[in-house]
Symmetry: C2
Subunit: 242 residues, 2 copies
């Protein structure tokens, strides 16, 4: 039902914008995921959702039909984009799989790597004794899962994000190979790196099979536009090859 609604929205919006990405279907994730501990407590990654929302908007402006799967955020969704709201990593993976196939996928969400092993149905009471350690379990890896899909089902271009606090370029390059995605967009979220997370700007390093590009500090909207243009160039080059 979600997929049908998204397709209907895309079909309606598809005629409105012409651009270098017209005719292509894009999937974007944004925001954090919230992993419940009990009905009132959760574990999360820091993320405002701004960068993913801006990427969805920028792809749309270039003509792509965009489905945005977003974790909890108060950011308004961009116009003309089909939005699916989720809370947890598992819900995000399910929504992503439902939204496929797509020509390109940009995973900008800050998905929690781990979730509490057990989400309690009732509020855990504070009983005065020392709190028990919180047992964790690994969440599904959405980027690696989609990157590993067979040709035809896998988007032609899969882009991951990385928030790093040290060795940003090296960690990003290693992550690209490990996840088998095509590009990694990495930002330095350490205090030394500007701690831009949640702010209005971003300073990223883009890694692909040709190497590494360091972009200047830009507004998140500018970073998104530059990324969307890079995507358009990539599809144009691919088109020229075939």
């Amino acid at each position: 039902a979600i997929r049908d609604a998204a397709l209907a929205l895309l079909a309606r919006a598809g005629d409105a914008v012409r651009g270098p990405l017209s005719g292509l279907r894009a999937l974007v994730t944004s925001g954090p995921t919230h992993e419940p501990i009990d009905p009132v407590r959760y574990l999360a990654n820091r993320s405002s959702g701004k960068q993913g929302m801006a990427i969805a908007a920028a792809l749309r402006e270039l003509g792509a039909g965009v489905t945005l799967v977003t974790g909890p955020t108060v950011e308004p969704a961009p116009a003309g984009v089909a939005v699916v709201r989720v809370e947890t990593a598992r819900e995000m993976l399910a929504a992503v799989e439902t939204a496929l196939p797509a020509d390109l996928a940009i995973f900008a969400a800050a998905v929690a790597d781990w979730r509490p092993a057990e989400a309690r149905a009732g509020k855990i009471k504070k009983d005065g004794s020392a709190p028990a350690p919180l047992a964790l379990t690994e969440n599904p890896d959405i980027l690696a899962t989609v990157s590993a899909l067979p040709a035809g089902r896998r988007p032609a271009l899969v882009v991951g994000f990385a928030a790093e606090t040290d060795d940003v370029a090296a960690n990003a390059a290693a992550k690209r190979l490990r996840k088998r995605c095509d590009w990694i967009v990495a930002n330095d979220v350490s205090a030394a790196g500007g701690g831009v997370m949640g702010g209005a700007e971003n300073a990223v390093i883009v890694t692909d099979d040709a190497g590494t590009e360091t972009w200047p500090r830009l507004s998140k909207a500018e970073t998104a536009r530059r990324l969307a243009l890079r995507v358009a160039d990539w599809f144009a080059a691919r088109q020229a090859e075939t």
Copy 2:
């Protein structure tokens, strides 16, 4: 410095509104706290901050000088209120202690009971092995700490909030005695109770030494106004006694 700025703001705003709470100083907390695991991950309680913000606004409308100490929220702070923004429970306690003395204090924030025992300076890498359990430690109890202050330092009226998923009235009454506060405003955050957390409405039970009042489901602004009027009645009765 925070206290001086708050006092200056209050002094400036103090003349603007006349009402039954004029001349009284109120302290309100709102929002969640975020307890860092590492630079990108945190543990939190669900809270939009809406109810606390609405209470600060309602007290201000009745003439009180209000200091609001709020955890991370995107809610706009009400006009004429001195706002101190914090992230963790420990920061919230420090800001509350700095804002005292006050005639009344309403602790509407959803403070995390526990925090990670150690906040790591660098992002914890996912290394493929099962994640280690997260060791937790107890946060300071702001409501109990302020309720236990000696006369003169303790606000005359201390109001706590409770989010409960079962036995709401009984848990609220027990919490009032345990924390030694004057009133508890409790809401049922279970799905059966409407799961109103984060929504626009609230349905609360107010417990004091005289017993329990069940309020109907009201907008958070209406709940706040009713609570502010109950506070004004309490101070009027106290005034009449002396």
